[in-house]
Amino acid sequence: MRLIIKDNYDDVCKYTSEYILNRINEFNPTPERPFVIGLPTGSSPLGVYKKLVNFHREGMLSFKNVITFNMDEYVHLPRDHPESYHSFMWENLFKHVDIPPQNVNILDGNAKDLERECTEYEAKIAAVGGIELFLGGIGPDGHIAFNEPGSSLSSRTRIKTLAYETIIANSRFFGGDVNKVPKLSLTVGVGTVMDAREVVILISGAGKALALAKCIEEGVNHMWTVSAIQLHPRGMIVCDDDATLELHVKTVKYFKSIEKVHRLLTTEESKVGMDGKVRYSATK
């Protein structure tokens, strides 16, 4: 697992968006081989989406061959409700970029058969060859997507009841009325996220500090579901200084030192490239 520690939220978004930009462009997606990305909702990825939209407007990033899968969606909330995750993704990303509508996959919380909707979602992910990069956020209780504490770490896409704490936290979007907040949601499982070939988690703010500490310094635990990233071969967490408040000093220093070496390796003068090959000329 890589832990990238940045100074503030803006730097976190800048790093993550540049990482995604480079990943997509190096992958060079084509219609036969699209780039499949998993996307979150919430306040953490807003900065990332803004910067991705800017990259698109400057011509650096095209979404024509990018397929997206969203993490979750409320059940029985109308699709055009301003708080539904369809509206969120439309307002913050899809409206501004050139992604074809059929490349967008979001769970349908108003499907007639919700269980079948979940299974078909899993099948769609498998049908396009699995997710290349899954971007995610984390909750204060260490949950990923809506996989609240106690969710199985091998879970798949399913219907999930929201925890009372989550409902209270979300009531601010529904006029402060907890009765208006949906109580069920469809969410990808921890297993689904960890099946992606790469997982990038955004963690920013002091409110997530305890969750980050529990997820990376303690064991894999279903009470802190993001801790499943410890078993992922290519996991990455991008966090800011405030989120490291509960980590050991040793952990923070260690990961910062690794990134320092990484930066040295990626400069032009470095003799050894990131792939371990020795470079005989100054250019890559």
Binding site: W90, H96, A126
Partner: protein
Amino acid sequence: MLGSLFGRKEEHAGANNNAASRTQVLDHVSRSLSRQRPQSRNSGLLGWLASTQSQILARRVGRGGDATETHQREVLISLAFSVAPSNMMCFILNSLIVTVMLQSQPRTSSNWSAESPPTSPALRPISPQNFYDSPIRLAPATPHMLGARADENKYRMRLLTDRMFSPRDKHHIPLVSLGPSVFSDSSKSAEKVIQLLRCDVLKNGKIVRDETLWIQGNKIVDGATLFFAGVKPDQVIDLGGATAGQRRPLVVPGFIDVQINGYFGYDFAEQSKLEEGLDVVAKGLLKYGVTSFLPTVVSSLPQTYQEVLPIIDAKRGRRSGHAEIIGAHLEGPFIAPCKKGAHNIDYFRSAPNGFADLIECYGKYLDPSSSVQKDDNVVKIITVAPELEGMLGAIEGIKKEWGDKIAVSLGHTECNYEQAEKSVESGVTMITHLFNAMHPFYHREPGPMGVIGFSSLPRNTKKPFFGVIADGVHTSPSSIRVAYNAYPEGAMLVTDAMAGAGLDGDEFMLGSMHVERKGPMEVVIAGTNTLAGSVATMPFCIANLVKFAGCSLAEAVNAATITPAKSLGIYGKKGSLMPGADADFVILDQLSDVDESAFRVARVFFAGEEVFTVA
């Protein structure tokens, strides 16, 4: 022994997949394993395990229940993975069994639908319907590619299956179609969809930055609904980044002008050239951003109305390349002689018989019993002076018979504040060109202007909308500022343009009056100082309102779009950029970062088509 095992298994795998054959295989496996060298404890244990499990299964099958796949899978996995790696033969054997068993799972698992599987994309012919379906080649989604052991099973499949057993397409696994079949809305698929990107849009009177606007056919639609239905835009217009360093273009609804007496040399009270005039004016107004207007007929004889109104009625409706004529504005002849303005006093009259006099004058277009225009009257606004004899009764009659379909406007009147208030209670909802041709504002006798200030109207009566001619000539900028800030929601911009507007000449006819130009934007009755209408254009008025009233450009545009639409009761269809509104909109270029009044009309769209582009 291995060969015999293979032979037996292929027989089973290729033939029926029922539970009985599977238990037979299990039996076979257990027997074969127990026949192995007794040194390996595991195999003995394995054999015992297999035999007991197969007995349980056989008993269950015999009892009529079906041995569920999960149970069998558990058995087989326990068989497979309980073998010590050192016993390579057992290991290979069991892994073979596992893969074969797992491959031959029946299709009718609870998670898959019982319907027949859709054909794969490779077999479907390419047609316009599925051309936009996902071009990604679909890999078969087999059940055991999901789950916690997905990677492992894929690895096993690749190692063993491809080389030794049947090719992949023999499995007939149902494919999941990725097309937008669930949401497809084919009813509107023939209409062109345009998407505007990166614009600042005036929505509900406020500027929304960095927004997209979707137009389908001749209406504005909700982009999210179309997008999630899988519709792609036919044309994308990117408005951002066109002029770097300046403000983004502002998309506003098309302007609505409720008072136009003529334009480009044509006068609407003159019946002889009216048809041609309406066409020319409708085409020419588009370049000023005016997409809807009301031709105004000044005070005339009754037969003039009988001639003119049918022609205006025939020109109503949306025609491509022409501004839409919403209806007619009848200014007079029931107005005060002392406030005649540029009207011909000979045609003025009062209404001693109330509503009946109006019917006598305007004819069948106001007569409720003639039912010529019961649902959609060509007459939209009637300007009257309420202090005339019988006028209040006539106003009440209009409201009773026509309700909200005809708006009664107060104008060319010498009524005082109380009379104006009474007329609003009777049903007046508009004021025609405030300050002009009416009782002046005096601090102890505010006249009609007082109604938009403090008014002791009953609670459910709204203050009237008021039109102002903001050309700097008809009203002092200071008066406009006071009136606008007294009641901004009611301020409407009108041009009251006459035949000379849009022309460069110096002498024109207005009805039957001679008028001459006194200044660049000032036209008077020949030989007098009485203003004879204006030659202002709507963008000029909007810019002036920003300067005079101190409001923002958005608020000034609202006075030319939302407020006129509300006064006519057509807000939502016109004067708005919300989904469902007509796609008549204007793109303004803001030319200065500090001066909001510096703008120009860059592009005009009518019914979704671009009808004007600035050079």
